[in-house]
């Protein structure tokens, strides 16, 4: 009896020791065609990237976009209203698929269907997606915007925070506007070390490591009124990490671009589990096939005097 109790106790104890090993690498790989393309109304040039996806692999290997391009894909773009099909071909110099003819100009407010098939990891895959391009009418309104230059984290005479503000004329039917910032003068030297950022106090080595990430930032506004009119979007100071010039591109994006942008990077929940992003791609594809109109302005962040 005593031995039995001892064995049970040891069983409990040994079961409750050790490490739960969970090896996710390689066990769940599902080949997909990665679609990465946006149509630009008014443009005659089509640039759509097709790549393969990667199995999980934590061996430190670096990947580059050029490593993953699918060169054997069969793809076409269809103007849905006119049932006109435009075959896409691979451009080896620029790594994207394009239409080589001259009879295609992407229109505003039109629906286009992308179809692609390819062999990935020995598996024949196909995918399709449709985008409806934004309507005309979108542009930044420089006169109503707060642009040019401003001291970092400037305050007005009352102590209220001043910000760059971009006012724009909305694209009717579009409710998603993405404002991307690229710090053109980003460097270890131009980083704003003082005043110390509210989130992070890096040293020069930290900045050097994360320079690429810090160079780009963005702000969004969603669910704006669908009719024509004017809205605005502020550039928050926590989006600017460097002194110097910034290129600010404001996009009016379609539903595909909107849902991809809002969900692609937010698939891990608070309890660590994953969920599917909203991609609007049928079949064996992931990524985004969207459309957007853009307008560009420049702003400059100055050191405090």
């Amino acid at each position: 009896m005593t031995i039995k109790r001892y064995v049970i106790a040891m069983l409990f104890f040994t079961t409750a020791c050790g490490e739960g090993i969970f090896d996710v690498e390689g066990r769940s790989y599902e080949p997909k065609i990665v679609i990465d393309g946006y149509l630009v109304p008014g443009s005659t040039q089509i640039k759509i990237y097709f790549r393969r996806n990667l199995p999980l692999n934590d061996n430190g290997q670096l990947f580059y976009p050029s490593d993953l391009v699918l060169t054997n894909a069969q793809a076409s773009l269809t103007d849905v209203a006119e049932s006109a099909i435009y075959p896409l071909s691979y451009n080896a110099d620029s790594l994207y698929y394009t239409y080589s003819g001259t009879d295609l100009t992407i229109g505003h407010g039109k629906t286009y269907r992308l179809e692609v098939s390819a062999v990935v990891n020995g598996k024949s895959l196909s995918a399709s997606s449709e985008t409806t391009t934004p309507n005309a009418g979108f542009s930044i309104d420089p006169a109503a915007s707060v642009l040019d230059s401003m001291e970092y984290n400037a305050k007005d005479s009352l102590g209220n925070s001043r910000k760059f503000r971009i006012s724009f004329h909305r694209s009717p039917g579009t409710d998603f506007y993405l404002n991307t910032l690229e710090a053109l003068d980003a460097s270890v030297e131009s980083f704003i070390y003082s005043p110390v950022n509210i989130f992070w106090a890096p040293d020069t080595a930290d900045v050097a490591d994360d320079l690429t990430e810090l160079k780009y930032s963005n702000d969004i506004t969603i669910n704006t009124p669908l009719n024509a009119g004017t809205s605005s979007i502020d550039i928050e100071w926590y989006s600017t990490w460097f002194y110097g010039d910034y290129r600010v591109v404001l996009f009016a994006g379609d539903r595909n671009m909107r849902d991809f942008f809002l969900t692609y990077g937010d698939v891990q929940e608070a309890d660590g589990n994953l969920h599917e992003p909203v991609l609007h791609i049928d079949g064996d594809g992931i990524g985004v096939f969207g459309s957007a109109i853009s307008d560009t302005v420049m702003v400059r962040v100055l050191r405090r005097q």
Binding site: T14, T15, L211, G229
Partner: protein
């Protein structure tokens, strides 16, 4: 005519066909030491088949007694048997109050005496799938830092947590919002402190906890999976009594004060203090604390009327600065908490008619504010004012009717402001319910309980439902019982879980219907002797119209209107994915509630699957809380008396003693979704490249098994008027690295290359804690 009289007799208990006026015996059963009412005490007339058990208010009644002289015998687990001779005249309604003296907790001799309450009788009277725990049992289970009610319940078969970091309960496959939490009859909506790490219930103030894991009667509604009812101490009406405890987490004290022989007051207060201790020394420890307190007054108005007034209040406070080195010291302030209050009137209208009536109020509010660096505020509020009554009509020896009503007035506010718009939800709802339940014992071996509950939920769109409930209990042999229960359950409130923030309660409306569940339970109970009881239950649950938070909510919500061109959201549309599901399982509980060795061994096998319209292409999948096999072993050993038992000597209460506590849990790993792949993509038409993950089939894989052993050692020394109990607890003694989840990240190189990062995140490591309790 005779048949009509017989039916009337059965229905209303009036023995119309009898020539002799029968007598009635009734009263309350109390703990003699403090005059706390005892629930479930067995009251019998010796040498007859007549008997009763005290209800949730401690009231008992025995009817249709032939006039004569009887010996009343009252038994209750852990108490000395009460005996009193009574003489009953024809038609007499005799009131006998029973005061039971507690035995030493270490004694297990209760099953030896012939007149003691048999274990099997106690099990028979217990409703299907219901488990009761005392405050003492909860405090004896080793935990993180100190005893915690909800974490203790997670050691019972059929109740699982999501992780070490959550005190939320998942009962028989149901979601965490499908449990009704009642404290002294009052709903508690978000019973959690420290972002769910601890529950709001102060275990020192608890008199008894009952959890019904399914098949509950028509008295309860509004939730699909379980009812957790916490009864706090009424207060000692005999002597001043108190306790104080200090753990690494908090300091707390409870006092019970007799005002006179009719009125007592009890109160508890607790506050965490690591913000004042290690928080002062270590910057990484956030400026966080919580406090809570209970107060309860018990007033014995007269023999047949009592009034109980109780209240609870708690608050969590967190002040957080993102970067202490920054010039702006920007951060946020968040506070949240519950306040509840109730007045309960208990009245014995007649020996046959007993009633409990409540007016309760419950409120939860959280407020989140960034400082001026961010334009963000968040207010989450729900209040509930309820009027309800439960009545019991003891129609005859064999027939009891329960009926009652409930009116809930709910008010929910959720307001959030942010740079791109705001959320403004302000909703008032009413929930009316009525129920009728019949308990019929056609023979001494059968108990048939049938009930019907009606719900009317007054919302944007109204919902009405009629829920039938039934329970059958049968004494199979002198050592075993069989039970069966089935019922339909509806729920009209849905909790929207949020990371970091406390969840938001929403209600059924034009977008969300009421959820439904169907329970089917079959149980077997057996007295194994030596005060060991076994319960075996199998269940099947089916869910309809259940709701799960839409993880891509941001793509689905639509503004109700615009204000200065900014969207204002007022609707619940898009918040949830709608689905259905089913759970089935087998549970076994071996429990030894008395003696120097107490505890339980639980085993459960379960399978749950949900299917939601927008998840996993609509295919069924196991939810994250599904566990196929769970084994729990909880034990508390009082060492000296255990050794005495082994040597065949009688046990006794010592001035000083050592106790060992243990809690072992093993469970199959949780389902988890792992990435099907990484993929390279631009984040915008002109943006940089990113390497996000794309999930594979939802919850197709399972984490490694979960196992943990917690131990505690407690020394107790009793002085003349007080006792001192220092303790050491070790959580996760084996320091097993139980996997919580896997974190996926991306690293980049200066030339634009990206690499994958995969890191396993574990739950709590070995955590030793110390503390002490003082009782006086």
């Amino acid at each position: 005519m005779y048949r009509i009289l017989l039916i009337l007799s059965l229905l209303f208990g009036t023995n119309l066909v009898s020539q002799t006026q029968p007598a009635t015996l009734n009263g309350f059963v109390y703990d003699a030491s403090n005059k706390e009412k005892l629930i479930g005490a067995n009251v019998i007339l010796k040498d007859t088949y007549k008997g009763s058990s005290s209800n949730v208010s401690g009231y008992y009644v025995i009817q249709n007694i032939a006039p004569g002289i009887y010996e009343v015998v009252v038994q209750y687990l852990g108490y000395e048997t009460f005996k009193q001779t009574v003489s009953l005249a024809p038609g007499q309604e005799k009131w006998v109050e029973v005061y039971l003296k507690a035995k030493s907790i270490e004694s297990d001799e209760i099953i030896v005496y012939g007149d003691s309450l048999p274990t099997i009788e106690r099990l028979f009277e217990k409703p299907v799938s219901k488990i009761e725990l005392s405050g003492l049992e909860i405090n004896q289970i080793p935990q993180i830092a100190e005893g915690d009610l909800l974490r203790s319940l997670q050691t019972l078969p059929g109740i699982v947590p999501l992780s070490d970091f959550s005190s939320a309960l998942y009962v028989r496959g149901g979601g965490s919002d499908q449990n009704l939490y009642l404290i002294d009859g009052t709903d508690v909506y978000n019973p959690e402190h420290a972002f769910g790490l601890f529950s709001t219930f102060n275990t020192d103030a608890i008199k008894q906890v009952e959890i019904s894991k399914g098949g509950f009667g028509a008295e309860y509604g509004g939730r699909l999976s379980s009812i957790l009812s916490v009864t706090n101490l009424d207060g000692n009406r005999e002597n001043f009594e108190g306790s104080a405890s200090v753990s690494l987490l908090s300091a707390r004290t409870t006092v019970q004060v007799p005002i006179n022989d009719r009125i007592s007051v009890s109160g508890s207060i607790r506050r965490t203090y690591f913000d004042k201790t290690i928080g002062q020394a270590i910057d990484a420890v956030p400026d966080y604390y919580f406090y809570d307190g209970n107060v309860k007054a018990f007033i014995q108005v007269d023999e047949r009327n009592t009034v109980t007034v109780s209240g609870y209040g708690g608050q969590d406070v967190l002040n957080f600065v993102f970067n202490e080195k920054s010039d702006d010291k920007a951060g946020f302030h968040v506070n949240w908490g519950n306040q509840t209050g109730s007045v309960q009137w208990t009245r014995v209208f007649s020996p046959k008619l007993f009633g409990n009536f409540w007016i309760t109020g419950s409120q939860f509010e959280s407020n989140f504010n960034f400082d001026e660096s961010f334009e963000f505020t968040d207010r989450n509020y729900i209040s509930d004012v309820t009027l309800k009554g439960n009545l019991e009509y003891y129609a005859s020896d064999t027939w009891t009717f329960h009926f009652g009503f409930e009116e809930k007035n709910l008010h929910g506010i959720f307001r959030q402001t942010f740079p791109g718009g705001r959320v403004d939800v302000n909703a008032r709802r009413r929930h009316y319910a009525g129920y009728f339940q019949s308990n019929w014992m056609p023979t001494s071996r059968w108990d048939v309980e049938t009930g019907l509950r009606f719900d009317y939920f007054d919302s944007d769109r109204d919902y009405q439902n009629l829920d039938p409930r039934m329970t059958l209990r049968y004494k199979l042999t002198p050592e075993s019982n069989i039970k069966m229960a089935a019922g339909v359950y509806h729920q009209y409130l849905h909790r929207l879980p949020r990371p970091f923030f406390v969840g938001i309660w929403t209600s059924s409306d034009e977008n969300q219907r009421g959820s439904a569940a169907y329970h089917f339970i079959l149980g077997y109970q057996r007295d194994l002797g030596s005060s060991v009881e076994m319960e075996l239950e199998t269940y099947y649950k089916k869910y309809r119209n259940i709701y799960d938070l839409n993880p891509n909510i941001i793509t689905a919500v639509e503004p109700a209107y615009f204000e200065d061109n900014l969207p204002v959201y007022t609707s619940t549309g898009g918040l949830f994915n709608k689905g259905q599901g089913r759970s089935l399982g087998v549970e076994m509980l071996l429990r030894k509630p008395t003696g120097p060795l107490t505890g339980w061994l639980g085993f459960s096998w379960a399978h749950t699957e949900y299917a939601f319209n927008a998840i996993n292409q609509g295919n069924a999948y196991p939810p994250r809380h599904d566990r196929t096999v769970v084994v729990n072993a909880v034990a508390n050993v009082e060492i000296k008396n255990t050794l005495r038992k082994i040597r065949g000597r009688p046990t006794k209460r010592d001035k000083s003693s050592w106790s060992l506590g243990s809690n072992f849990v093993y469970s199959t790993g949780q389902p988890i979704t792992v990435p099907g792949s990484y993929y390279y993509i631009r984040t915008s038409p002109d943006g940089p490249y990113s390497l996000p993950v794309y999930p594979s089939e939802i919850n197709r894989f399972r984490l490694p098994y979960y196992a943990r052993l917690d131990l505690s050692i407690t020394y107790r020394h009793e002085f003349r008027h007080w006792s001192f109990e220092p303790y050491l607890q070790v959580f996760n003694v084996g320091n097993r690295k139980n996997v919580w989840f896997v974190d996926y990240s991306t690293g980049n190189s200066a030339d634009g290359g990206l690499r994958q990062g995969i890191k396993t995140v574990n739950m709590f490591p070995l955590l030793p804690t110390i503390g002490f309790n003082i009782r006086f």
